[in-house]
Symmetry: C3
Subunit: 361 residues, 3 copies
Amino acid sequence: MTTVSTADPRFFPKPDPISAEELARISGAELVLPRDGELPPGGFTGIGPLQEAGPTEVSFLDNRRYASLLDETRAGLIIVGKAFANRIPAGSAALVTSSAYLAWSRVARRFYPRPEARQGQHPSAVIDPSAIVHETAEIGPFAVIGAGATIGERTIIAAHAVIGDSVVIGADCRIGTHVSLSHALVGDRVTLFPGARIGQDGFGFAVGPAGFETVPQLGRVILGNDVEIGANATIDRGSVRDTVIGAGTRLDNLVQIGHNTTLGRNCIVVSQAGISGSTELGDRVTVAAQAGLIGHIKIGEGARIGAQCGVMSDVDSGADVIGSPAMPFREFFRNVATLRRLSRRASGNTAAAGDVASDKD
Amino acid sequence: MTTVSTADPRFFPKPDPISAEELARISGAELVLPRDGELPPGGFTGIGPLQEAGPTEVSFLDNRRYASLLDETRAGLIIVGKAFANRIPAGSAALVTSSAYLAWSRVARRFYPRPEARQGQHPSAVIDPSAIVHETAEIGPFAVIGAGATIGERTIIAAHAVIGDSVVIGADCRIGTHVSLSHALVGDRVTLFPGARIGQDGFGFAVGPAGFETVPQLGRVILGNDVEIGANATIDRGSVRDTVIGAGTRLDNLVQIGHNTTLGRNCIVVSQAGISGSTELGDRVTVAAQAGLIGHIKIGEGARIGAQCGVMSDVDSGADVIGSPAMPFREFFRNVATLRRLSRRASGNTAAAGDVASDKD
Amino acid sequence: MTTVSTADPRFFPKPDPISAEELARISGAELVLPRDGELPPGGFTGIGPLQEAGPTEVSFLDNRRYASLLDETRAGLIIVGKAFANRIPAGSAALVTSSAYLAWSRVARRFYPRPEARQGQHPSAVIDPSAIVHETAEIGPFAVIGAGATIGERTIIAAHAVIGDSVVIGADCRIGTHVSLSHALVGDRVTLFPGARIGQDGFGFAVGPAGFETVPQLGRVILGNDVEIGANATIDRGSVRDTVIGAGTRLDNLVQIGHNTTLGRNCIVVSQAGISGSTELGDRVTVAAQAGLIGHIKIGEGARIGAQCGVMSDVDSGADVIGSPAMPFREFFRNVATLRRLSRRASGNTAAAGDVASDKD
C-alpha cells in the first residue's frame, strides 16, 4: 500500500540526522569508513532493512542466513558482527561490534526514542478522588483509576485501561489500552501491552457436595521493575501467597501465569506458553513458545524450556529440555531419529514379509 | 432456556419468506421438487438444523457422519451434495449441488444479511479533530479515534475500540468491541473480532550488560482486503519491515503472529496457533489449531500444517506436515503405529517372562 | 515490596475475628484443641500460608509435598486431612476433615466474603432505554448495555464491559472488565473474568470461486448457572445450533470454545486448551492445559484429557487419555519408556560400532 517499509513517518516522527561518530559512540561499536567513498556529509537520516536502506540510512546484519544480502545492499552504514566485517560493500561504512543486535537496538532507539508521557488527564477518565496520580503522568481517554490507587511519575495509562482499587504503579510505566490490572503492586519502567489481564482470581476451586466451590484468592500480583507483559497475556493473583514476576522478566503475547507462581529475574516466556500455579522459576529461565509447565515444580536458574515442551517435573539449573514429556534436547532428537529409523525399517520389513525370498533367510 | 435453536429472533431479525426458486438461483444449486408433496406456497421462512427444521425451513447436510439425520428430518428444503440426492425424504425438496456448504452459506446469508453500518458517531466517542471519518461510518460508544486516522465508507467501529494515530482503515470494515489497533494500514471489508490486538510492539530485545534492552519496533501491520482476525488474537507490528497479512486470509481466535511475519493470500490459521517472527507463508497455507511455527522459515503455498504441529524448518509447497517436530502426515502416523507395536511387544515380552513363573503353578 | 503475603488489607478488607468453633461449623471439620496451649481468646483474625501464619491465623495443608512445613509453622489453627492429624504441632489447634481443601475454601470465604454488588449505575454507562436492568444491579463506568438486554438482581457489570442487544443475564452474576458478550443467554451466579469474548461469530467459511465466503453464524451461546469463564477466553456462538456450557462448568484463562460445541455440567477446561466446533463433552469431563480437541467428536462423561493432549476421535466415559494423538495414559507412558530404551540401545550400538573402527586406527 506504500513503499515505505521502516519507520513510516506517519507512525514514527522523522528524526534529525545523526553522525556516524555519534552512532558509534552510543552503540559502543568500531566505526570502519567506506573503502571506496565517503560518509554522507549531512549524517544518517534513518534506518532500514538491508534490501531497502539507502546511502544515508543505517542497516544491520544479525542473522547469518541473510548474509548474502550484504552483496547487494545500498545501505550507507551497516552494523555487523566481527565475522562479517570483511563482507561490507566497498561503498558502505560499518559499525563492527561483538554485539550487533544490541548495537542495532541502541542506534534504532537513538533515531526513534520512545514517546514520552504527555502530562495530563483526559477529561473522560474516571479517577477516584482518593487515587494519587502523579502530576507528570498521562491518563488516557476512558481510563478508570480505582480508589486509593497510586500512579507514579511519567507513567502512561493508555485509553480504556482499568486500574483497580489500591493498585500501586511506579514511575515510567506504560499501561496499554484495555489493560485490566487489579490486586497488584507494579514497579518502575514496567510495560503492559494491550489487553493484558493482571490480578484476576486464580483458577481455584474445591469439589463440594453440590459442585465446585470457589476458593478465595487472597494474594496479589507483584511485578518487578522493568517487567514487560505481552498483549492479551494473563497473570492470576495468588491464593495464599503472591504471584511474583521478577525484575527484568519479559512475557510475550497470550502467555498464561497461574496463581502463586514465581518467576525470577530476567526470565523470558515466549508467546502462548503457560505456567501453572505455584511453580517457581529461577533467574534467567527461558520458556519457548507454547510450552506448558505443570504446577508445583521448580525450574533452576538459566534453564531453557523448548517450544511446545510439556514439563511435568523439576528442571535443573542450566538444563535444556524439550518434548512432551520434557527431556534433554539431545535425548529428544535422538528419540526422533531412532523412531524414524525403526519406523522405516518396520515399513521395509512389512514389505519384505510378503516376499517369498525373505522366507528363505 | 428456550426451544429456538437457530436464528433466535431476539438476536437475528425474522426474515421475509423467500421462494425455493430464489434460493436455487442465489446458491447456484439444482432445485429438486418433493417426490410426495408440494413446496410451501408462501415460500421458506428460515433455516435450521436437520433435527429441528420444519416444513417451511431450509436445512443442509454437509458432513457425512450426520447423513442418518436425513431419514427423520421434517425440513421442507434440504441442501445436499450430489452423493446424498437420493436420500432426500419424499416430502422434502432439495437443492442439489457440488458445493453444499457454499450453497448453504449463501442461502443463510440471503435470509440473514449482515447488519449494515448505522451511520453516525456516538456522542461519547473521542475522535481527534484531525481524523478523517467517512460520513457513512458508524462509530460506537467510547470508541477512540486517534490523530490523523482515516475511517472508510460504511465501516463500523464498535464500542470501546481504540484506533491509534494515523491508522488507515478502508471501506466496509468491522472493527469489533475492545479492539486495539495501531501502526496499521487496513484494507477494505476487513473484520476484526472483539479484543484483537494489532500493531503493538513485537517481542524484540537485545541482551545488554544490565539486562534486556528493548529493540525499537519500527514497522507496521498491513492487513489486506477481506482479512478476518479472530477474537483476542494478537498481531505484532514489524521491527524493520512490516507484518503483512495477505488479502482474504483468516485468523481464528487467540492466534499469535510475530513481528515481520508475512502471510500470503487466502491462508487459514486456526485457533491458538502461533507463527513466530519473520516467517513467511505463501498463498493458501493452512495452519491448524495450536500449531507453532518458529521464526525465519518459509512455508510454501498450499502447504497444510496439522494441529499441534511444531514446525522448525521450511515446508514445501503443497506439503502436509504434522507432529512436533513436523514431518509428513504419512510418516507421523507410521511412527505412531510403529511405536505402539514395539511398545506392546516389549510389554508382551515382560509379561511372557512372568508367565514362566506362573506356568509352574 | 511489603511483608504482607496473604490478604493484604489494601485489597481485602480486614475481617472481624472468628471463633474456632464457628470455623469448625462452617467447614464441617472436627476441631482438635492444642495439645499444649489454648485457643486464642479473641478468635482467629485471618489466614496465611504455613510458613507465615501466626498464632491467631488459620492455615492449611493440602498437598503432601509441603507436609514438612507442619514442623515449623506457627499457625494457630491448621486445616488438615486425617492422614496428617498426628503431625500438628503441639501448640496449634487443628480442623481435621476428609476434605481439607473444601474446608479451607469455606474458612477463607468466611473471613473474606465476595464483594457484593454496589447497587447503582455509573453515570458514564451507556444503557439503552429498552434494556431491563434490575435496580439492585451494579453497572460500572463506561459499561454499554444494548437494546433489549436484561440484567438480573445483584449482578455486577464491571467497568468497560459491553453487553450486546437482547442478551439475557441472570442474578448474582459477575461480568468482568472489558468483557464482550453478545448473542447469549446467561444463567445465575455466572462469572466472566476480564477480557472474555463470548458470542462472536464462529470460524465458519465456505470456499467460493473468489475466495472464502463467510457462513452466517445464527446460533447463540448458552451459559448455565454457576459457569465461570476465564480471562481472555473465547466462546464463539453457534452456526445452526447453540454453543452450550453446562451448569457448574469452569473454563480457565485463554481457553477457546468453537461454535456449536456442547459442554456438560461440572466440566473443567484448564488454561489454553481448545475445543473445536460441534464437539460434545459429557458431564464432569476434565480437559487439562493446552489440550486440543478436534471438531465433531464426543467425549464421554467423566473422561480426563491430559495436558497438551491432541484428541482426534471419540473418548469413552471415564477414560484417561494423553499424548498427541491421544491414547490411554498407561499406553502413553509405556511408549515413552519403550522409545527411551530403544533409543539408548541404538545409541549404545552406534557407539560400539564406531569404537571397533576407531580401534583399528
